[in-house]
Amino acid sequence: MKHLLSAENLDRDTATALLDTADHLKRTLLGREVRKLPTLRGRTVLTVFYENSTRTRVSFEVAGKWMSADVVNVSATGSSVGKGESLRDTALTLSAAGADCVILRHPASGAAHRLATWLDGTPTAVVNAGDGTHEHPTQALLDAATLRERLGSLAGRRVAIVGDVLHSRVARSNVRLLATLGAEVTLVAPPTLLPAGVERWPVAGISHDLDAELPGLDAVMLLRVQAERMHGGFFPSAREYSIAYGMNETRLRRLPEHAVVLHPGPMLRGMEISSSVADSPRSAITEQVRNGVHVRMAVLYHLLAGEEHAE
């Protein structure tokens, strides 16, 4: 694995190896006072974020630091990015400056793919930390890690992804990775928030009725609804969305006992998810964040320490 650009291109063995490594790292660090491994000492990892993000950037930064890599955060406002430099020039500059890995968050779908093309022939690895409305593969990996922990295995498990599938890179990555890992995914959303052609995705079903799906699920994955969608005519009002697709106490009771609730954050409490659900033991939201660090450590490990050390 030279880069991590999408979940679509992750085969089952690679994905499983990443999840196993994340699990191994988590157990290794458990209860340690000093959570630092020397594995990536001397390696330089850049986070390059063209979009505001706290959780993903911090998660990658912590992951790099726990592996002893030198992590440099490049923000789109404080660098030449703001001066109108092209993404290609920025990529070549950062690579030439010694980046072993560039972690890219960008508003354009396909930006990480382009970066990898431009850096072909350099040793710099690229990690897609979210490209437009395309993919966010480490989010899908951390979701899979969380589901594996809670449910044991993903094979045959039934997962509903609820909300703005149309604009969600989290949904795209999860649909691909969950299918690869053998889970059965149902998309639940109003028709306006499902992309044309979605019926050809590797999903078990598409539904507009969350209540009907709940009793048969092993997990519910809620997507965030961005403010601009609420004004874009995709649905009549936040209230109507919440009534039809929000996860609340009543809906939680319709879920089987063992079923788990996930949300990639940041949450809109009261709209996508009620506070009582978010803070209940059925919710795995803080575990998702915790697993995010271990999954990203595993990704950096596989990319920078080489497959041969990954076992």
């Binding site: 092209s86 960008h106 396909g110 793919h113 382009r114």
Partner: protein, 441 residues
Amino acid sequence: MTAVAHTATETTTPLLIRGVRPYGEGEPVDLRIAEGRIAEIGPGLAAEDAEVLDAGGLVALPGFVDLHTHLREPGREDAETIDTGSAAAALGGYTAVFAMANTDPVADNAVVVEHVWRRGREVGLVDVHPVGAVTVGLAGEKLAELGAMARSSARVRVFSDDGQCVADPLIMRRALEYTKALDAVVAQHAEEPRLTVGAQAHEGETAARLGLTGWPAAAEEAVVARDCLLAEQVGARLHVCHVSTAGTADVLRWAKRRGVRVSAEVTPHHLLLTDERLTSYDPVNKVNPPLRTERDVTALRRALAEGVLDCVATDHAPHAPQDKDCEWAAARPGMLGLQTALSVVVEALVRPGLLDWRGVARVMSERPAEIAGLADQGRPLAAGEPANLALVDPDTRWTVRASELASIAGNTPYEGMELPAAVAATVLRGRVTAYQGGIRA
């Protein structure tokens, strides 16, 4: 004096073209060209004082006419100029091109269109006919001085806001009505703007997978249907640019049956390429309207063969490297087309048996000349007619290399592709403008 489109009075060395097959039919004949016209056609003509062009095995067609070319001058001379674009046209077999109005400054007034017209004449490799903007600054709000452009020395007869849709139905109605008095045609870039906010790719499975905002087929079809009805209502002519969907072909079939005076063009890339290519995110495949599906490609080929689509127009759209070597959303839409058009048409239509060489002459020369009202282009290959010719080698194959194309920009989607047939020579009013891949200035 108003410059009438070039007449056949230029003095050129007499030319004898040996051994061509007009329209690829019958036994090889010789063409004697004198004073810009075909003087004589027949076997074994004597050379006399003529320059002899050995064209054994070549197919002779009327010189191609492109209703849709972006020459980028004035304004973006880093991507293309009238010099380089004219060279690309000549090498592609073209003897007339229509230069779109979305230059900087916009060709929405007599000064700019006369400048383009004059520069085209100075270069002299192809007749460059400026297209005038329909609305001031392509803004879609106020009619440009269409009459002044029509009456200028450029004699503008095609008006288009191409790149932008004349979306306001009232402005479109007025444009259609007003151009009736000018014997001109409005060429519409059909794209409903509210349905294509932020659109990046054909709305369908590929765009959904790649996370690219969809450009729905209905955004084109709805505008074409509306404009056909408007043209019918006011009794005007309408031309539809770059038809890209199967549904638009159906709308046009219906409108033509109804008697609406509508013509339509299709680009070579919409006849060959599909949105499957977008998976690489390489913006060389970004174009507006976007590459569509296999189903659309098949329907467009059939519609062109049937005459529902009238002609092939390149939408040749050079872009500087920095406008393509970037992330998909930031890239400008458009592809080079002039030098690959014939080969793509052969690949997409001639080889599958949908068009013969007569058909190629119809869709690449005769119909576009008629639509634009060019009297001296798209004429039959017959004695007394203007000697505007494309001589085509039907049997060769060649590999497209951007670095070998005449355009300054290199954004060809066919890079590395092997294509059939090539233009061996182009003759503009009896003068050889391109020969065996080189320009004859």
